[in-house]
Point group: C2
Chain length 261, copies 2
């Protein structure tokens, strides 16, 4: 069983990629909607919440943990790997690998929440693998609430996206990492504002490929394989707005169960 957690609904873009490319595997999702968002909070608090979320997923039977949240991936990966004895996947590395495979001029842009950008994790990973690459990053804290409010096609959203991307555009990046799992929802606006020629990196597909490889190498991990796969969705808070946005992200009917952590 694959356990996935996120601060709220962003991780559902990852679940969707998994359902599309990993059919036949059980999925267990936890969205920490009572304490969302993580991206504006301190590393210490996000680590604490990530530990609690992982403990919940393990208790429910998860054999692999996927942090479908860039903020948690940025600050909590090391702690979770030390603390828990099962495979922990995060969304940063697959995005970095993809970006390095696609850039031609080695000018790479990264957008994310304030916590993700301040962690400097993308710079560290990219510089470690390719010291000649130049990384330009921008925190875009208003994009999460805009996506969660469903303000996808509005002019204000386009203006705010344009303002956030401007410093990356003038640097002539040829590759842009969507460093937040909410952003694929507004990928087409981002692509239009940064320029159609810029490669847009969405880590969820690359992450799903990594997990598929792991499952092929470790068939004993997945009890659900070959049976009718199930997907269970747990959240720490349920609101009508959340149900609405979740349904539109995942494009499937889902049943949400509320749990207290």
């Amino acid at each position: 069983m694959i356990g996935i957690f996120d601060s709220g609904i962003g991780g559902l873009t990852v679940v969707k990629a998994f359902m599309d490319t990993l059919p036949g595997h059980d999925i267990l999702y936890f969205g920490d909607t009572a304490r969302t968002p993580y991206g504006t909070k301190s590393g210490r608090t996000v680590i604490e919440y990530s530990i609690q979320n992982t403990e919940f997923l393990i208790e429910k039977g998860a054999k692999i943990i996927v942090m479908a949240c860039n903020t948690a991936s940025s600050v909590a990966t090391e702690t979770l790997k030390k603390r828990f004895d099962l495979p922990i996947y995060e969304v940063i590395s697959p995005a970095v690998d993809l970006a390095l495979g696609q850039t031609k001029n080695n000018l790479i842009g990264v957008i994310g929440t304030r916590a993700t950008i301040e962690s400097g994790i993308y710079e560290k990973k990219i510089s470690g693998l390719r010291p000649e690459a130049r990384i330009h990053s921008a925190a875009c804290p208003l994009l999460v609430p805009l996506v969660e409010e469903g303000w996808i096609g509005r002019p204000e959203t386009r203006m705010i996206v344009k303002k956030y991307l401007h410093p990356l555009k003038v640097r002539q990046i040829d590759t842009l990492i969507l460093g937040c799992t909410h952003y694929p929802v507004i990928k087409s606006i981002i692509s239009r504002k940064i320029g159609k020629k810029v490669n847009i990196i969405d880590s969820s597909v690359a992450l799903a490929a990594q997990i598929r490889q792991f499952l092929a190498d470790n068939p004993q991990t997945d009890d659900g394989l070959g049976k009718n796969a199930t997907a269970s969705f747990y959240v720490s808070d349920i609101t009508r707005q959340f149900e609405k946005t979740a349904a539109s992200v995942i494009r499937r009917k889902i049943k949400l169960t509320r749990v207290d952590l």
Copy 2:
């Protein structure tokens, strides 16, 4: 000692009003910044958090509790009054009293978070006191993140405020209640967009007057009276952005202490 809580920084507009109009009283503030915002969450979750916040303030010596948060005031007042044996103040009633005192055409607008507006609390209170009044309300969920990001003077903020206020403006309200403690920070933009002739109701000043009256009637409640008053600020998470915005709201240097609830 006056114990005040809010989901984050919004309640600091109330603290500022208290410091300005109630000098010589000890203030104890708790901002639940690790779980902020409340306004997008369910009533059940907000009630749970409000109980924990109140317990914390009582433990620290609060003799009066002030919910400086419209969302908490909307959904948790009844529960807190039943559960705790000390005076509980909220921000809804003073705003309603003020609005009824100022409206001439009995067309009253209310703006707030989604949770506050969905609770229908302003309609209930106003209709109870003046059945002939007509209330027009609008949820403005993006204003909290815009204020917290400090996007006060930006054109996008003005556009979003205008969009949110449009349905109230066409109804020709003559009085507008700021049903969220974040909104006084952008009061001048709101006033310009709704029209300069519309009365803008900010509950913090009316609330401070209520508390002053209570303290005059119950002098034994306030140990700090006449001594050098202190103000202590506790939060559940500390980030640089929060420190920056808090300092600009309260216009004083404050020391934040982080606590785990």
